[in-house]
Protein backbone atom coordinates (compact mmCIF):
# COMPACT_ATOMS: atom_id res chain seq x y z
CA UNK A 1 0.00 0.00 0.00
CA UNK A 2 2.70 2.44 -1.01
CA UNK A 3 0.39 5.29 -1.91
CA UNK A 4 -1.29 5.06 1.45
CA UNK A 5 1.83 5.54 3.52
CA UNK A 6 1.62 9.31 3.89
CA UNK A 7 -1.89 8.85 5.12
CA UNK A 8 -0.86 6.87 8.18
CA UNK A 9 -2.07 9.42 10.73
CA UNK A 10 -5.36 9.53 8.90
CA UNK A 11 -5.60 5.75 8.95
CA UNK A 12 -5.05 5.76 12.67
CA UNK A 13 -7.79 8.34 13.03
CA UNK A 14 -10.21 6.29 11.00
CA UNK A 15 -9.34 3.22 13.04
CA UNK A 16 -10.16 5.18 16.15
CA UNK A 17 -13.47 6.22 14.69
CA UNK A 18 -14.28 2.58 13.98
CA UNK A 19 -13.49 1.44 17.48
CA UNK A 20 -15.64 4.08 19.15
CA UNK A 21 -17.60 1.61 21.17
CA UNK A 22 -20.87 0.71 19.61
CA UNK A 23 -23.15 1.62 22.44
CA UNK A 24 -24.82 -1.34 24.02
CA UNK A 25 -28.33 -0.60 25.20
CA UNK A 26 -27.60 1.95 27.86
CA UNK A 27 -30.88 1.89 29.77
CA UNK A 28 -33.39 -0.64 31.11
CA UNK A 29 -36.07 0.68 28.82
CA UNK A 30 -36.25 2.63 25.56
CA UNK A 31 -39.30 4.65 24.54
CA UNK A 32 -39.97 6.81 21.48
CA UNK A 33 -40.88 10.49 21.27
CA UNK A 34 -41.16 13.43 18.93
CA UNK A 35 -38.70 16.23 19.64
CA UNK A 36 -39.10 19.56 21.38
CA UNK A 37 -41.93 20.14 23.84
CA UNK A 38 -43.04 16.51 23.54
CA UNK A 39 -39.72 15.05 24.50
CA UNK A 40 -39.21 17.59 27.26
CA UNK A 41 -42.62 16.93 28.76
CA UNK A 42 -42.25 13.18 28.30
CA UNK A 43 -39.17 13.40 30.47
CA UNK A 44 -40.66 15.64 33.15
CA UNK A 45 -44.13 14.10 33.30
CA UNK A 46 -43.37 10.43 32.77
CA UNK A 47 -39.72 9.38 32.58
CA UNK A 48 -38.26 11.18 35.58
CA UNK A 49 -41.07 10.30 38.05
CA UNK A 50 -40.98 6.71 36.75
CA UNK A 51 -37.24 6.45 37.28
CA UNK A 52 -37.60 7.87 40.76
CA UNK A 53 -40.39 5.49 41.61
CA UNK A 54 -38.91 2.28 40.21
CA UNK A 55 -35.16 2.89 40.05
CA UNK A 56 -35.18 1.75 36.41
CA UNK A 57 -33.51 3.88 33.75
CA UNK A 58 -35.33 5.02 30.60
CA UNK A 59 -33.86 6.19 27.29
CA UNK A 60 -35.89 8.41 24.97
CA UNK A 61 -35.30 8.02 21.24
CA UNK A 62 -36.32 10.91 19.00
CA UNK A 63 -37.50 10.42 15.45
CA UNK A 64 -40.53 9.44 13.44
CA UNK A 65 -42.83 6.38 13.32
CA UNK A 66 -41.53 4.96 10.02
CA UNK A 67 -38.01 4.99 11.48
CA UNK A 68 -39.01 3.21 14.70
CA UNK A 69 -41.07 0.51 13.02
CA UNK A 70 -38.25 -0.38 10.62
CA UNK A 71 -35.65 -0.39 13.37
CA UNK A 72 -37.65 -2.94 15.32
CA UNK A 73 -38.48 -4.95 12.19
CA UNK A 74 -34.76 -5.18 11.41
CA UNK A 75 -33.96 -6.47 14.91
CA UNK A 76 -37.07 -8.41 15.93
CA UNK A 77 -35.35 -10.70 18.46
CA UNK A 78 -33.51 -7.91 20.23
CA UNK A 79 -35.61 -4.83 19.52
CA UNK A 80 -33.85 -1.50 20.10
CA UNK A 81 -37.15 -0.04 21.36
CA UNK A 82 -39.49 -1.35 24.09
CA UNK A 83 -42.42 1.06 23.99
CA UNK A 84 -43.77 2.91 20.96
CA UNK A 85 -45.39 6.28 21.53
CA UNK A 86 -46.56 6.76 17.99
CA UNK A 87 -49.23 7.91 15.59
CA UNK A 88 -52.01 5.57 14.65
CA UNK A 89 -50.86 4.80 11.10
CA UNK A 90 -47.45 3.84 12.45
CA UNK A 91 -49.22 1.67 15.02
CA UNK A 92 -51.27 -0.09 12.33
CA UNK A 93 -48.06 -0.74 10.40
CA UNK A 94 -46.37 -2.20 13.49
CA UNK A 95 -49.35 -4.47 14.09
CA UNK A 96 -49.45 -5.59 10.45
CA UNK A 97 -45.80 -6.58 10.66
CA UNK A 98 -46.38 -8.48 13.91
CA UNK A 99 -44.01 -6.35 15.95
CA UNK A 100 -46.23 -5.55 18.95
CA UNK A 101 -48.13 -7.38 21.69
CA UNK A 102 -51.77 -7.10 22.66
CA UNK A 103 -52.26 -4.60 25.45
CA UNK A 104 -52.96 -6.77 28.51
CA UNK A 105 -55.38 -5.03 30.92
CA UNK A 106 -54.18 -7.33 33.71
CA UNK A 107 -50.70 -5.78 33.45
CA UNK A 108 -51.96 -2.21 33.04
CA UNK A 109 -54.34 -1.63 35.93
CA UNK A 110 -54.69 2.10 35.23
CA UNK A 111 -56.54 1.23 32.04
CA UNK A 112 -59.62 1.06 34.27
CA UNK A 113 -59.72 4.87 34.03
CA UNK A 114 -59.55 4.90 30.22
CA UNK A 115 -62.83 5.09 28.23
CA UNK A 116 -63.62 1.96 26.23
CA UNK A 117 -63.27 3.42 22.67
CA UNK A 118 -59.72 4.51 23.44
CA UNK A 119 -58.78 0.92 24.29
CA UNK A 120 -60.20 -0.59 21.14
CA UNK A 121 -57.86 0.99 18.63
CA UNK A 122 -55.53 -1.03 16.38
CA UNK A 123 -57.41 -4.21 17.23
CA UNK A 124 -56.41 -4.01 20.87
CA UNK A 125 -52.68 -3.77 20.04
CA UNK A 126 -52.54 -0.17 21.25
CA UNK A 127 -54.13 2.27 23.69
CA UNK A 128 -54.73 5.95 23.04
CA UNK A 129 -52.53 8.18 25.20
CA UNK A 130 -54.04 11.44 24.01
CA UNK A 131 -55.80 12.74 20.94
CA UNK A 132 -56.25 15.81 18.81
CA UNK A 133 -58.63 16.53 15.98
CA UNK A 134 -58.46 18.22 12.61
CA UNK A 135 -60.74 21.17 11.91
CA UNK A 136 -60.53 24.50 10.12
CA UNK A 137 -58.01 27.19 11.01
CA UNK A 138 -58.69 30.61 9.53
CA UNK A 139 -57.41 34.16 9.56
CA UNK A 140 -59.96 36.28 11.46
CA UNK A 141 -58.66 39.43 9.81
CA UNK A 142 -59.67 38.08 6.41
CA UNK A 143 -62.72 35.91 7.07
CA UNK A 144 -65.61 37.19 9.18
CA UNK A 145 -68.10 34.44 8.51
CA UNK A 146 -66.34 31.06 8.39
CA UNK A 147 -68.19 28.02 6.98
CA UNK A 148 -70.29 26.07 9.48
CA UNK A 149 -69.78 22.66 7.94
CA UNK A 150 -67.18 20.80 5.90
CA UNK A 151 -69.59 20.75 2.94
CA UNK A 152 -70.05 24.53 3.16
CA UNK A 153 -66.26 24.93 3.27
CA UNK A 154 -65.90 22.99 0.02
CA UNK A 155 -68.67 24.90 -1.78
CA UNK A 156 -67.57 28.37 -0.71
CA UNK A 157 -63.97 27.57 -1.63
CA UNK A 158 -65.17 26.57 -5.08
CA UNK A 159 -66.96 29.92 -5.34
CA UNK A 160 -63.69 31.67 -4.62
CA UNK A 161 -64.58 33.37 -1.36
CA UNK A 162 -61.03 32.76 -0.08
CA UNK A 163 -57.76 31.00 -0.76
CA UNK A 164 -57.76 27.66 1.04
CA UNK A 165 -54.73 25.62 2.06
CA UNK A 166 -55.11 21.84 2.04
CA UNK A 167 -52.60 19.14 2.88
CA UNK A 168 -51.17 17.37 -0.18
CA UNK A 169 -51.15 13.60 -0.48
CA UNK A 170 -47.69 13.31 1.06
CA UNK A 171 -48.64 14.51 4.51
CA UNK A 172 -48.87 11.16 6.27
CA UNK A 173 -51.28 10.88 9.20
CA UNK A 174 -53.25 13.87 7.92
CA UNK A 175 -54.39 13.76 4.32
CA UNK A 176 -55.67 10.16 4.29
CA UNK A 177 -58.01 10.85 7.22
CA UNK A 178 -58.64 14.59 7.43
CA UNK A 179 -59.09 15.07 3.68
CA UNK A 180 -59.77 11.86 1.80
CA UNK A 181 -61.89 10.02 4.33
CA UNK A 182 -63.41 13.17 5.82
CA UNK A 183 -64.55 14.82 2.55
CA UNK A 184 -65.52 11.48 1.07
CA UNK A 185 -67.66 10.72 4.11
CA UNK A 186 -69.28 14.17 4.04
CA UNK A 187 -69.97 13.71 0.31
CA UNK A 188 -71.54 10.30 0.87
CA UNK A 189 -68.67 8.07 -0.32
CA UNK A 190 -67.29 4.83 1.15
CA UNK A 191 -63.77 3.63 1.98
CA UNK A 192 -63.83 1.35 -1.07
CA UNK A 193 -64.91 4.13 -3.42
CA UNK A 194 -63.37 7.56 -3.16
CA UNK A 195 -64.64 8.91 -6.46
CA UNK A 196 -66.79 11.57 -4.71
CA UNK A 197 -63.82 13.19 -2.99
CA UNK A 198 -61.59 12.85 -6.03
CA UNK A 199 -64.14 14.63 -8.25
CA UNK A 200 -64.47 17.47 -5.73
CA UNK A 201 -60.72 17.77 -5.23
CA UNK A 202 -60.26 18.02 -8.97
CA UNK A 203 -62.76 20.86 -9.11
CA UNK A 204 -61.07 22.54 -6.14
CA UNK A 205 -57.64 22.26 -7.72
CA UNK A 206 -58.87 23.61 -11.05
CA UNK A 207 -60.70 26.51 -9.39
CA UNK A 208 -57.33 28.06 -8.52
CA UNK A 209 -58.65 28.77 -5.02
CA UNK A 210 -56.65 26.06 -3.31
CA UNK A 211 -52.97 25.72 -2.54
CA UNK A 212 -51.39 22.65 -1.00
CA UNK A 213 -49.01 22.27 1.91
CA UNK A 214 -46.68 19.33 2.27
CA UNK A 215 -45.16 19.91 5.65
CA UNK A 216 -47.17 20.64 8.77
CA UNK A 217 -45.36 23.90 9.44
CA UNK A 218 -45.72 25.13 5.89
CA UNK A 219 -49.40 25.80 6.58
CA UNK A 220 -48.51 28.45 9.15
CA UNK A 221 -46.08 30.10 6.76
CA UNK A 222 -48.76 30.16 4.06
CA UNK A 223 -51.31 31.67 6.43
CA UNK A 224 -48.91 34.34 7.67
CA UNK A 225 -47.59 35.29 4.26
CA UNK A 226 -51.15 35.70 2.99
CA UNK A 227 -50.91 32.86 0.48
CA UNK A 228 -53.93 31.32 2.21
CA UNK A 229 -56.82 32.50 4.39
CA UNK A 230 -58.29 29.26 5.71
CA UNK A 231 -57.41 25.59 5.74
CA UNK A 232 -57.45 22.17 7.33
CA UNK A 233 -55.24 22.01 10.39
CA UNK A 234 -54.79 20.38 13.77
CA UNK A 235 -56.25 21.89 16.92
CA UNK A 236 -53.15 21.68 19.11
CA UNK A 237 -50.88 23.25 16.50
CA UNK A 238 -53.36 26.00 15.67
CA UNK A 239 -53.79 26.99 19.33
CA UNK A 240 -50.04 26.89 19.90
CA UNK A 241 -49.54 29.26 16.95
CA UNK A 242 -52.24 31.62 18.24
CA UNK A 243 -50.83 31.61 21.76
CA UNK A 244 -47.36 32.06 20.29
CA UNK A 245 -48.25 35.33 18.61
CA UNK A 246 -50.31 34.61 15.48
CA UNK A 247 -53.22 36.47 17.07
CA UNK A 248 -55.56 36.49 14.08
CA UNK A 249 -55.53 32.70 13.72
CA UNK A 250 -58.70 31.03 14.96
CA UNK A 251 -59.74 27.40 14.95
CA UNK A 252 -62.95 25.34 15.18
CA UNK A 253 -64.47 21.99 14.28
CA UNK A 254 -66.99 22.30 11.38
CA UNK A 255 -70.10 20.10 11.41
CA UNK A 256 -70.47 17.15 11.59
CA UNK A 257 -67.28 17.26 13.66
CA UNK A 258 -63.51 17.25 13.73
CA UNK A 259 -61.49 14.25 12.57
CA UNK A 260 -59.65 12.57 15.40
CA UNK A 261 -55.93 11.77 15.37
CA UNK A 262 -54.89 9.72 18.38
CA UNK A 263 -51.38 9.23 19.71
CA UNK A 264 -51.10 5.66 20.92
CA UNK A 265 -48.91 3.48 23.12
CA UNK A 266 -47.69 0.03 22.04
CA UNK A 267 -45.64 -2.69 23.72
CA UNK A 268 -42.93 -4.07 21.43
CA UNK A 269 -42.64 -7.88 21.20
CA UNK A 270 -39.51 -9.34 22.84
CA UNK A 271 -38.86 -5.97 24.47
CA UNK A 272 -38.14 -5.54 28.16
CA UNK A 273 -40.97 -6.73 30.47
CA UNK A 274 -40.45 -3.49 32.40
CA UNK A 275 -42.37 -1.92 29.53
CA UNK A 276 -45.66 -2.99 31.12
CA UNK A 277 -44.79 -1.17 34.30
CA UNK A 278 -43.95 1.95 32.30
CA UNK A 279 -47.15 1.76 30.24
CA UNK A 280 -49.18 1.44 33.43
CA UNK A 281 -47.41 4.48 34.81
CA UNK A 282 -48.23 6.44 31.61
CA UNK A 283 -51.93 6.15 32.42
CA UNK A 284 -51.87 7.11 36.07
CA UNK A 285 -53.71 10.32 36.78
CA UNK A 286 -50.96 12.63 37.96
CA UNK A 287 -48.57 12.18 35.00
CA UNK A 288 -51.55 12.38 32.64
CA UNK A 289 -52.56 15.77 34.07
CA UNK A 290 -48.98 16.98 33.74
CA UNK A 291 -48.86 15.74 30.12
CA UNK A 292 -52.20 17.35 29.23
CA UNK A 293 -51.04 20.72 30.55
CA UNK A 294 -47.72 20.47 28.70
CA UNK A 295 -48.87 19.44 25.24
CA UNK A 296 -52.38 20.95 25.35
CA UNK A 297 -54.22 17.85 24.15
CA UNK A 298 -57.00 15.91 25.89
CA UNK A 299 -55.55 12.76 27.45
CA UNK A 300 -56.94 9.27 27.92
CA UNK A 301 -57.38 9.04 31.68
CA UNK A 302 -60.77 10.28 32.90
CA UNK A 303 -59.07 11.21 36.17
CA UNK A 304 -56.76 13.74 34.55
CA UNK A 305 -57.22 17.41 35.55
CA UNK A 306 -57.24 20.31 33.04
CA UNK A 307 -56.95 24.06 33.33
CA UNK A 308 -60.28 25.77 32.55
CA UNK A 309 -59.05 27.59 29.41
CA UNK A 310 -57.79 24.30 27.99
CA UNK A 311 -61.05 22.60 28.79
CA UNK A 312 -62.96 25.19 26.79
CA UNK A 313 -60.94 24.50 23.64
CA UNK A 314 -60.75 20.70 23.94
CA UNK A 315 -62.74 18.50 21.59
CA UNK A 316 -65.14 16.22 23.44
CA UNK A 317 -64.70 12.54 22.75
CA UNK A 318 -68.30 12.19 21.57
CA UNK A 319 -67.97 15.16 19.19
CA UNK A 320 -65.04 13.93 17.14
CA UNK A 321 -65.40 11.54 14.23
CA UNK A 322 -63.31 8.37 14.05
CA UNK A 323 -62.06 7.42 10.61
CA UNK A 324 -61.94 3.65 10.04
CA UNK A 325 -58.23 3.48 10.85
CA UNK A 326 -58.07 -0.30 10.51
CA UNK A 327 -59.49 -0.28 6.97
CA UNK A 328 -57.43 2.60 5.65
CA UNK A 329 -54.01 0.86 5.26
CA UNK A 330 -55.48 -1.71 2.85
CA UNK A 331 -57.13 1.05 0.83
CA UNK A 332 -54.06 3.29 0.77
CA UNK A 333 -52.27 1.92 -2.32
CA UNK A 334 -55.35 2.64 -4.42
CA UNK A 335 -56.05 5.99 -2.73
CA UNK A 336 -52.52 7.20 -3.31
CA UNK A 337 -52.41 6.06 -6.93
CA UNK A 338 -55.80 7.59 -7.73
CA UNK A 339 -54.87 10.86 -6.06
CA UNK A 340 -51.50 10.95 -7.86
CA UNK A 341 -53.06 10.37 -11.24
CA UNK A 342 -56.15 12.57 -10.91
CA UNK A 343 -55.03 15.39 -8.67
CA UNK A 344 -51.28 15.13 -8.59
CA UNK A 345 -50.60 17.46 -5.68
Amino acid sequence: MKTLKPCRPLLALAGLAFTVAMPARAADLTVTAFGGVWEKSLRTCYVEPFQKKTGKTVDVVLGTPAQWVNQVAANPAKPPIDVFLTLIDGAEDAKARGLVEKIDPAKVSNLADVPEPLKQVVGGDAVVLHYGAAGLAYNEAKIKNPPKSWAEFIERTLKGEWQAALPGINVASTTPTAVIWNFNDVLGGKVGDISPVIAKMKALRDSGNVIFWNDVNQFLTQMQSGEADIGIYWDGRAWAARDGGFKSLNFYYPAPGGVVSPTVVQKVKNGSPAAWEFIDFLFSSEPQSCWAAAIQYPVASTKAQYKPEQKARMPKLEDVRWPPFAEIPAAMPKWVETWNKDIGR
Binding site: K2, L13, A14, V61, L62, G63, T64
Partner: protein
Protein backbone atom coordinates in the same frame (compact mmCIF):
# COMPACT_ATOMS: atom_id res chain seq x y z
CA UNK B 1 -3.90 60.53 -21.79
CA UNK B 2 -6.04 60.45 -24.90
CA UNK B 3 -9.67 59.47 -25.10
CA UNK B 4 -8.84 56.35 -27.07
CA UNK B 5 -6.38 55.20 -24.43
CA UNK B 6 -8.91 55.43 -21.59
CA UNK B 7 -11.48 53.80 -23.83
CA UNK B 8 -9.06 50.95 -24.38
CA UNK B 9 -8.52 50.61 -20.67
CA UNK B 10 -12.22 50.43 -20.06
CA UNK B 11 -12.54 47.90 -22.84
CA UNK B 12 -9.81 45.87 -21.22
CA UNK B 13 -11.54 45.99 -17.82
CA UNK B 14 -15.12 45.66 -18.95
CA UNK B 15 -15.25 41.86 -19.01
CA UNK B 16 -14.00 41.68 -15.43
CA UNK B 17 -16.46 44.32 -14.25
CA UNK B 18 -19.30 42.45 -15.91
CA UNK B 19 -18.08 39.23 -14.32
CA UNK B 20 -17.93 40.93 -10.92
CA UNK B 21 -21.50 42.20 -11.33
CA UNK B 22 -22.64 38.72 -12.26
CA UNK B 23 -20.94 37.22 -9.21
CA UNK B 24 -22.55 39.79 -6.92
CA UNK B 25 -26.01 39.03 -8.31
CA UNK B 26 -25.26 35.33 -7.92
CA UNK B 27 -24.47 35.69 -4.24
CA UNK B 28 -27.53 37.86 -3.70
CA UNK B 29 -29.61 34.98 -5.11
CA UNK B 30 -27.76 32.42 -3.04
CA UNK B 31 -28.12 34.29 0.22
CA UNK B 32 -31.58 35.80 -0.23
CA UNK B 33 -33.62 33.10 1.53
CA UNK B 34 -30.91 32.57 4.15
CA UNK B 35 -30.96 36.20 5.25
CA UNK B 36 -34.53 35.77 6.45
CA UNK B 37 -33.63 32.61 8.32
CA UNK B 38 -30.85 34.41 10.18
CA UNK B 39 -33.11 37.40 10.92
CA UNK B 40 -35.85 35.17 12.29
CA UNK B 41 -33.39 33.38 14.58
CA UNK B 42 -32.84 36.67 16.40
CA UNK B 43 -36.58 37.31 16.73
CA UNK B 44 -38.47 37.44 19.98
CA UNK B 45 -41.65 35.76 18.78
CA UNK B 46 -42.80 32.25 19.75
CA UNK B 47 -43.43 31.28 16.16
CA UNK B 48 -41.50 31.72 12.97
CA UNK B 49 -42.90 34.81 11.33
CA UNK B 50 -41.74 37.67 9.16
CA UNK B 51 -41.30 40.62 9.51
CA UNK B 52 -39.52 40.32 12.83
CA UNK B 53 -40.87 42.95 15.19
CA UNK B 54 -38.53 42.71 18.15
CA UNK B 55 -35.13 41.12 18.50
CA UNK B 56 -33.65 38.95 21.23
CA UNK B 57 -31.24 36.10 21.85
CA UNK B 58 -33.86 33.90 23.48
CA UNK B 59 -33.69 31.19 20.81
CA UNK B 60 -29.97 30.86 21.33
CA UNK B 61 -30.66 30.46 25.05
CA UNK B 62 -33.21 27.86 24.09
CA UNK B 63 -30.49 25.91 22.28
CA UNK B 64 -28.51 25.77 25.50
CA UNK B 65 -31.59 24.78 27.44
CA UNK B 66 -32.98 22.18 25.06
CA UNK B 67 -29.88 20.06 24.63
CA UNK B 68 -30.78 17.60 21.85
CA UNK B 69 -30.31 20.19 19.11
CA UNK B 70 -26.74 21.13 20.09
CA UNK B 71 -25.82 17.59 21.16
CA UNK B 72 -26.95 16.15 17.86
CA UNK B 73 -25.15 18.90 15.96
CA UNK B 74 -21.92 17.90 17.70
CA UNK B 75 -22.62 14.24 16.95
CA UNK B 76 -23.37 15.07 13.29
CA UNK B 77 -20.11 17.01 12.96
CA UNK B 78 -18.11 14.06 14.30
CA UNK B 79 -19.91 11.70 11.96
CA UNK B 80 -19.44 14.00 8.97
CA UNK B 81 -15.74 14.43 9.71
CA UNK B 82 -15.10 10.74 10.25
CA UNK B 83 -16.97 9.68 7.12
CA UNK B 84 -15.19 12.29 5.01
CA UNK B 85 -11.79 11.03 6.25
CA UNK B 86 -12.74 7.42 5.60
CA UNK B 87 -14.07 8.32 2.17
CA UNK B 88 -10.78 10.05 1.38
CA UNK B 89 -8.81 6.98 2.48
CA UNK B 90 -10.83 4.76 0.20
CA UNK B 91 -11.38 7.31 -2.52
CA UNK B 92 -8.05 9.05 -3.15
CA UNK B 93 -5.96 5.95 -4.03
CA UNK B 94 -8.80 4.69 -6.20
CA UNK B 95 -9.11 8.05 -7.95
CA UNK B 96 -5.36 8.30 -8.63
CA UNK B 97 -5.35 4.84 -10.16
CA UNK B 98 -8.45 5.50 -12.24
CA UNK B 99 -7.36 8.89 -13.54
CA UNK B 100 -4.28 7.49 -15.27
CA UNK B 101 -5.51 4.04 -16.10
CA UNK B 102 -5.79 3.04 -19.73
CA UNK B 103 -7.49 -0.21 -18.77
CA UNK B 104 -10.86 -0.89 -20.32
CA UNK B 105 -12.10 -1.75 -16.86
CA UNK B 106 -11.63 1.80 -15.64
CA UNK B 107 -14.99 3.08 -16.84
CA UNK B 108 -16.76 0.17 -15.25
CA UNK B 109 -14.95 0.60 -11.94
CA UNK B 110 -15.65 4.36 -12.00
CA UNK B 111 -19.31 3.68 -12.58
CA UNK B 112 -19.48 1.36 -9.59
CA UNK B 113 -17.61 3.83 -7.37
CA UNK B 114 -19.97 6.64 -8.39
CA UNK B 115 -23.13 4.55 -8.27
CA UNK B 116 -24.06 5.37 -4.63
CA UNK B 117 -24.88 8.86 -5.93
CA UNK B 118 -27.71 7.51 -7.99
CA UNK B 119 -29.84 5.63 -5.51
CA UNK B 120 -32.48 7.42 -3.43
CA UNK B 121 -31.17 7.56 0.14
CA UNK B 122 -34.33 6.13 1.64
CA UNK B 123 -33.81 2.86 -0.19
CA UNK B 124 -30.13 2.69 0.67
CA UNK B 125 -31.00 3.47 4.30
CA UNK B 126 -33.57 0.69 4.52
CA UNK B 127 -31.31 -1.82 2.76
CA UNK B 128 -28.40 -1.00 5.07
CA UNK B 129 -30.53 -1.05 8.21
CA UNK B 130 -31.60 -4.63 7.55
CA UNK B 131 -28.16 -5.75 6.31
CA UNK B 132 -26.16 -4.21 9.15
CA UNK B 133 -28.68 -5.44 11.72
CA UNK B 134 -28.36 -8.95 10.31
CA UNK B 135 -24.58 -8.92 10.77
CA UNK B 136 -24.90 -7.60 14.31
CA UNK B 137 -23.86 -3.98 13.87
CA UNK B 138 -27.44 -2.86 14.38
CA UNK B 139 -28.17 0.71 15.26
CA UNK B 140 -24.80 2.15 16.16
CA UNK B 141 -22.22 4.79 15.34
CA UNK B 142 -20.34 2.22 13.27
CA UNK B 143 -23.42 1.58 11.14
CA UNK B 144 -23.97 5.29 10.62
CA UNK B 145 -20.32 5.72 9.70
CA UNK B 146 -20.49 2.91 7.15
CA UNK B 147 -23.66 4.32 5.60
CA UNK B 148 -22.29 7.85 5.36
CA UNK B 149 -18.96 6.64 3.98
CA UNK B 150 -20.74 4.71 1.22
CA UNK B 151 -22.35 7.90 -0.07
CA UNK B 152 -19.23 10.03 0.47
CA UNK B 153 -16.82 7.92 -1.60
CA UNK B 154 -18.23 9.03 -4.99
CA UNK B 155 -17.63 12.71 -4.25
CA UNK B 156 -13.98 12.22 -3.33
CA UNK B 157 -13.33 9.85 -6.24
CA UNK B 158 -14.91 12.12 -8.80
CA UNK B 159 -13.34 15.42 -7.70
CA UNK B 160 -9.87 13.91 -7.34
CA UNK B 161 -10.04 12.17 -10.72
CA UNK B 162 -11.02 15.43 -12.39
CA UNK B 163 -8.27 17.49 -10.77
CA UNK B 164 -5.58 14.85 -11.22
CA UNK B 165 -6.31 14.45 -14.89
CA UNK B 166 -6.20 18.20 -15.35
CA UNK B 167 -2.68 18.68 -14.05
CA UNK B 168 -0.87 16.34 -16.43
CA UNK B 169 2.10 14.09 -15.79
CA UNK B 170 4.88 16.65 -16.23
CA UNK B 171 5.40 17.53 -12.60
CA UNK B 172 5.61 13.97 -11.39
CA UNK B 173 7.87 12.94 -14.21
CA UNK B 174 10.14 15.87 -13.50
CA UNK B 175 10.32 14.83 -9.87
CA UNK B 176 11.14 11.27 -10.90
CA UNK B 177 13.89 12.45 -13.22
CA UNK B 178 15.32 14.56 -10.42
CA UNK B 179 15.60 11.39 -8.41
CA UNK B 180 12.68 11.66 -6.04
CA UNK B 181 11.40 8.36 -4.63
CA UNK B 182 7.82 7.37 -5.28
CA UNK B 183 6.87 8.34 -1.79
CA UNK B 184 8.61 11.71 -2.04
CA UNK B 185 6.95 12.34 -5.37
CA UNK B 186 3.58 11.55 -3.89
CA UNK B 187 4.02 13.60 -0.72
CA UNK B 188 5.70 16.67 -2.18
CA UNK B 189 4.36 16.78 -5.72
CA UNK B 190 1.14 14.85 -6.22
CA UNK B 191 -0.60 15.51 -2.93
CA UNK B 192 -0.28 19.32 -3.03
CA UNK B 193 -1.36 19.33 -6.67
CA UNK B 194 -4.54 17.37 -6.00
CA UNK B 195 -5.22 19.28 -2.78
CA UNK B 196 -8.11 21.22 -4.28
CA UNK B 197 -9.69 17.94 -5.41
CA UNK B 198 -9.38 16.27 -2.02
CA UNK B 199 -10.61 19.42 -0.28
CA UNK B 200 -13.70 19.79 -2.45
CA UNK B 201 -14.49 16.07 -2.34
CA UNK B 202 -14.29 16.03 1.45
CA UNK B 203 -16.24 19.29 1.66
CA UNK B 204 -19.02 17.71 -0.41
CA UNK B 205 -18.90 14.62 1.81
CA UNK B 206 -19.27 16.73 4.95
CA UNK B 207 -22.12 18.80 3.50
CA UNK B 208 -24.02 15.75 2.29
CA UNK B 209 -23.52 13.96 5.59
CA UNK B 210 -24.71 16.92 7.68
CA UNK B 211 -27.92 17.17 5.69
CA UNK B 212 -28.53 13.47 5.23
CA UNK B 213 -31.90 12.87 6.82
CA UNK B 214 -33.02 9.88 4.77
CA UNK B 215 -29.98 7.80 5.62
CA UNK B 216 -29.48 8.82 9.23
CA UNK B 217 -33.15 8.32 10.03
CA UNK B 218 -32.79 4.55 10.16
CA UNK B 219 -29.86 4.56 12.56
CA UNK B 220 -31.16 7.05 15.11
CA UNK B 221 -31.18 6.02 18.77
CA UNK B 222 -30.76 7.78 22.09
CA UNK B 223 -26.98 7.51 21.59
CA UNK B 224 -26.82 8.14 17.85
CA UNK B 225 -29.00 11.14 17.11
CA UNK B 226 -28.00 13.24 14.13
CA UNK B 227 -29.13 16.83 13.70
CA UNK B 228 -31.48 16.34 10.71
CA UNK B 229 -33.37 13.59 12.54
CA UNK B 230 -33.72 15.67 15.70
CA UNK B 231 -34.84 18.67 13.65
CA UNK B 232 -37.44 16.63 11.80
CA UNK B 233 -38.74 15.28 15.06
CA UNK B 234 -38.73 18.74 16.64
CA UNK B 235 -40.65 20.22 13.71
CA UNK B 236 -43.37 17.58 14.01
CA UNK B 237 -44.96 19.54 16.78
CA UNK B 238 -43.55 23.01 16.93
CA UNK B 239 -42.37 25.66 14.53
CA UNK B 240 -40.24 28.06 16.49
CA UNK B 241 -37.07 30.02 15.68
CA UNK B 242 -34.86 27.48 17.49
CA UNK B 243 -34.56 25.70 14.15
CA UNK B 244 -33.39 28.96 12.54
CA UNK B 245 -30.94 29.48 15.40
CA UNK B 246 -29.33 26.06 15.02
CA UNK B 247 -28.89 26.75 11.29
CA UNK B 248 -27.15 30.02 12.12
CA UNK B 249 -24.89 28.23 14.61
CA UNK B 250 -23.99 25.75 11.87
CA UNK B 251 -23.05 28.61 9.56
CA UNK B 252 -20.83 30.17 12.22
CA UNK B 253 -19.08 26.83 12.76
CA UNK B 254 -18.51 26.53 9.00
CA UNK B 255 -17.06 30.03 8.85
CA UNK B 256 -14.68 29.37 11.75
CA UNK B 257 -13.65 26.00 10.31
CA UNK B 258 -12.88 27.46 6.89
CA UNK B 259 -10.88 30.30 8.44
CA UNK B 260 -8.93 27.83 10.57
CA UNK B 261 -8.15 25.66 7.55
CA UNK B 262 -6.93 28.70 5.66
CA UNK B 263 -4.77 29.96 8.51
CA UNK B 264 -3.29 26.66 9.66
CA UNK B 265 -2.93 24.66 6.46
CA UNK B 266 -2.22 27.90 4.66
CA UNK B 267 -3.76 26.53 1.51
CA UNK B 268 -5.71 28.70 -0.83
CA UNK B 269 -7.76 25.81 -2.05
CA UNK B 270 -9.64 27.52 -4.75
CA UNK B 271 -7.51 30.28 -6.17
CA UNK B 272 -4.70 30.20 -8.69
CA UNK B 273 -1.21 30.48 -7.29
CA UNK B 274 -0.06 33.78 -8.71
Amino acid sequence: MTATASWRRLERRLPILLLLAFVLIFFAFLLAPIVFVVLVSFGDSEIIAFPVTSYSLRWYHRLLEYRPLLDSLWFSLKLAGASAVLAALFGVPAALALARSRSGLADLVSTVLLAPLSIPMILLGIALLYKLSAIGLGISFTSLLIAHTVVSIPYVVRTVVAVYRGIGRNYEEAAAILGASRRQTFTYVTLPLIGSGIFSGMLFAVLISLDNLSLSLFFGSAQTNTLPVVMLSYLQNQFDPAIAAIGTVQMIIALVALLLIERTVGLKFMSSPS
